[in-house]
Amino acid sequence: MRLEKFKVGLARVYQVISYGLLLVVTIGAVSAFISSLPKLGSSLGEMDYSLVYDKEYYLDNNPDIILEAYENDEEIDDPAFEHFKNEGMKEGRIASEEFDVVYYRELYPDLETAFGDDWELYYEHYIECGNFEGRIATVSDNVRGGYALGLTSEIKEQNVVLKITQNVDFLEANRIYIFQLNAYEDELAEENLVKVINKDTMQVKLDIRNITDKYVLAIVGEGGYEIVSNTAFICNPEVLSVNASSEVESNSKKGIQFSEDDELDEFYSNLRLSNVQCDFIFEDLLSVSSSSGQVISYEYNGENYYFNKSEVQKLDEKFAKWAEENVIVSARILCEYDKSFSDLYYENAIASNNTHYYAINTSKEYGAETLAAFVAFFTERYNGTDEENRLLSNWIVGSNVNDNSSTNYMGEVELGDYVEEYARTFRIVYNTAKVQNSSVNVYVPISNRWGYKSDTLSYGGREFLNAFNDQIVIEGALDWGLSCEALSYPLNDPLVDNDDTITLGETGKATYETDVASNIVDTNLITMKNIDVLTRYIHRTPFLNKDGEVRSVIVSGIGYTSDSNIYGNCEALQAASIVYSYYKAEMNEDIDMYIYGYLNDEEDSKYSFGINSKHAYDVFRIMDSKDAIDSLSYICDIIDIEDWNEVISYFDASKFNDFDALPVEESIEEIDTDVEDVEIEESGNEETDAEDDTDNEDLVGPFDISTVQIQSIEDCKYTGKECRPQVIVTLGEVTLVEDVDYDLVYVNNIEVGVAKVMIIGLNDYYGYITSQFEIVEEK
């Protein structure tokens, strides 16, 4: 009987539910019918792109887009929108302040699982679903944190002012304990407790102890102190600075990496550089010995540190010279392995031949304090106030720091922990340097490995930068800058525009990677071909500085080989790529410096990135001059374009007018003379040079190579491989020598048809001339 009653009861409940459900299903059927009708009302019709697209924003923040194809189509009203729909969405470009597709993807792993790298789908999802579902689309929509209390720390009127915000309505404690810790400390020990406040206190004033100190709030829980706030470092150390050097006015963005081994100061001078980047090797400049006469003693925070006197004096000389030439100097802090400094490295970082540089262990007192002293010493020494105005303008904290394995070795560690360590190191450098000179800039350097997934030894540049930025924001925003080593890819192929494909690997075997350097926001590599991806990325709201401005960017370590197993000797291609990459940097308003990485070829490298004594040297020297575009017009032919706007949409020749540049004619004369001198001086083989000179003994250069005669070039039989027929070039009765007087660049020389060869002057010859030959099919 009871069972029967239960059945009846269940049936009644079920019936009531089913009446409700019937109503729901009826409404659902009507809704589904309505939504299946095309264009019934704006919201149910076409996609509403205004949620993700704002024309003005798109054009302002994506200057690299090429709209020509859309502008030529009369049926298209808004070429920018068509570009966005057809290309921009696929590349993950941000087209509205209201929708940051990168952030949207990062915030929702369910979308990432579903859509993967298909960026277009994220826009469509937001338009069709995400917006309606109330998903967050911009950083400003989201509240950072995770702590009960938010904490910031800044200096005001010679005091540290801590500002506390309540992130939750209810905090289970009345008293808040303020701890002041050294940068390397994490333990909430009693001696670090500086004040106890009521939980409603919003602001606290403390005395300044150390500029790299950090602060944290805690309550007393069951097991002792429990942290209830983020850690806060002082985020405006510059207000304590007694010195603010005036900024060096640069003529251009052109710069080069200074290598101590080069010992070729005059070459640096002749290149008319605006920027120089040099390496400050920790172990070379610091000394463990305190023997007087050999060291310079420096007291910092009550401790004495010793610097290698001879090395510092060498630097003094360089800085004096650079100051004289108005060159902006950037210094990279690098740490090589030296047993005498074993406490400087992380415990898990075991010395290895494969490791170039080691991370400085700032989680220990020795590393943190020594680094601070090191930075303070040099920033103070080169603050532009001495008689010779020696000035260090920028610090770069490490090299390719997203590569834990070889250039910032810390031992195997997950990205989050790694970034926490690096961010501390960065902050020590930043705060220390800013106190010495408020105008100094501090950069975080990343490699060109951008979109790769992170493991415990190597981190994708994008993932690293995201994590680094988050860490810095949480602990107190700083004005950091970004340096990127935008090396070409593959290294044996100097051409810029084919960085996204590999036709031949270094071993000669075909490889399969494609689109490694594309325009997509998470492209695997950043090279100078797609450097706009990087600058676009830091245009995003989360990466803007405190004033809402885009951060400073340096492109550095750039190198193009002049000798390749694909092209053989390819000095002309190297020169062309340098010009192309430089123009890209010069025209990109977000990039402040272009640092070419190599003056000379490195002895132990299989690539010939150096420019010294090569055609590239001449080109490098003049490429930032106002007449450069005309005099280097042959570069366009080498890379097969008619106009620079074809490859750099925002190329604007008028921007060169601001430069105090070398006259081209003069520069070429100087180049030729210089190169001749160097050849004699450097080669040490005067007989060879003498022989070359004999051939041309009646000739006094420079000569325009377009005046030479070219003997007719024989037709070539089609083989499916490159045809390189012999070219005989004469001037009067003198036969010119390949690689000495000229360089050959073959174009379209594989398939049947008309092929082109360009003869480009070297040394005593300048300019270029082209000739043709035919590739014929074998009968």
Partner: protein, 439 residues
Amino acid sequence: MKYMIEKMKKFTTCDWVCVFLMGGLLLSVAYLFYTRGNGWSNFLFWNQNDTGMDFFHSIEYVRGRVPYEKFQTLYPPLANLLFYVIFCFVPSWQYASWPNSFSESIGTRGTTIDLRYWQPTMMIFILFIMATAVALYILFQRYIKKYKTSKLVSIGLMLSFGMINAYERGNIIIFVLLFILIFIEYKDSENKVISELALISLAIAAGLKIYPAVFGVLLIYDKQYKKAFRTIIYGVIAFVAPFLAFKEGLGGIFTFLKVFAAYSEVPSFSCQGLSADKLMNTIAYTVNNIFGPVIPEGTLMNIATIVNIGAAIFLLLAGFFVKKRWEKVLVCTMTVLIYQTQYVYILIMLIIPLLIILQDEERINKSNAMVIVGIMITQVLLPLDFNYFTVFNKQYGRLQLGVFILLGYIILKTNQNISSFLREEKKGKGDIKHAIGKI
């Protein structure tokens, strides 16, 4: 006209289905002709990089026989075993340079190490699809052979909306459909061996995709508890035993469950799917668009899991209150459909109740018309834009309409049967059995 009407009055259910399917097919072909093939681009994945995605990648993930730990695959071990057998036909030089992780393998689509790039693997794919399609055609025929239009309807079903998408994805759901159809057709066979094989067939289907296990409830509806018990045993064997074929061994069970749980935690990605939460989403979307923001944004995202589980439980219980064989099968199919958002190939599951309606009811009547219309709305290939690749598109409207109609039928029917039972109860004569027996 009169002649036509007279003729139509004599139409069987199969004839009507034939009209729907063939009509849609002809319209679609005409549309493709008119657009010179461009219509495809609004229907299919847009290039070959995605052809047979579920097939090719599944083959790749069984290389090395560590599918769960290494590639976090979601397929149960029996499915992976099937793919491993197929993998044994793939020349070694094709897979030698394949990457070692799920995410990297996605990145190789369209490159020369993509299995699709090579003819031998593409032929394996084509043969797999062909063999399964032929087997399905034979089974369809077996279900509806009594009708003159059976061949046309079978062809129409082979080219229906969900089927085209299933071919393109190379999803083993077409293989699973085969086993479920065998189960339903032969589970009540008088020949004990065949009947037992039918149970094993369901166990295999569940071993390949898990959710076909829902069809086992049919045995409970019919009070065939012993058979249900044996099916569970077969199912457990079909699920556990194949783990031994992989290097992960039985420990792989936990890895698989972990991967499965992690996947289930991720909310489904589209507001336009066929699961219960997505159906609710469509209602909320339309209501908000017409009446302003009545339903707060984000509400449904938070209750999606509850909605889906609730709807599935409701449907499974509804199976106890319906009488006809096709109604019970429909209940099981709808449970599979609305429990979790899946790609549109899941619609081919609706072919099962359709075939049973055709088998059991020769004429259209008030009862089955609503269901046939509902199923046809979801099955007919129509020349409407369906950008499959984006998953958000207007054609989902018509698919959801079909699903709502089918749900409506189940609720209506259940309601009627319960009302009838309660009336009987009031008269003091009834119990559930009696009431349902009377209806």
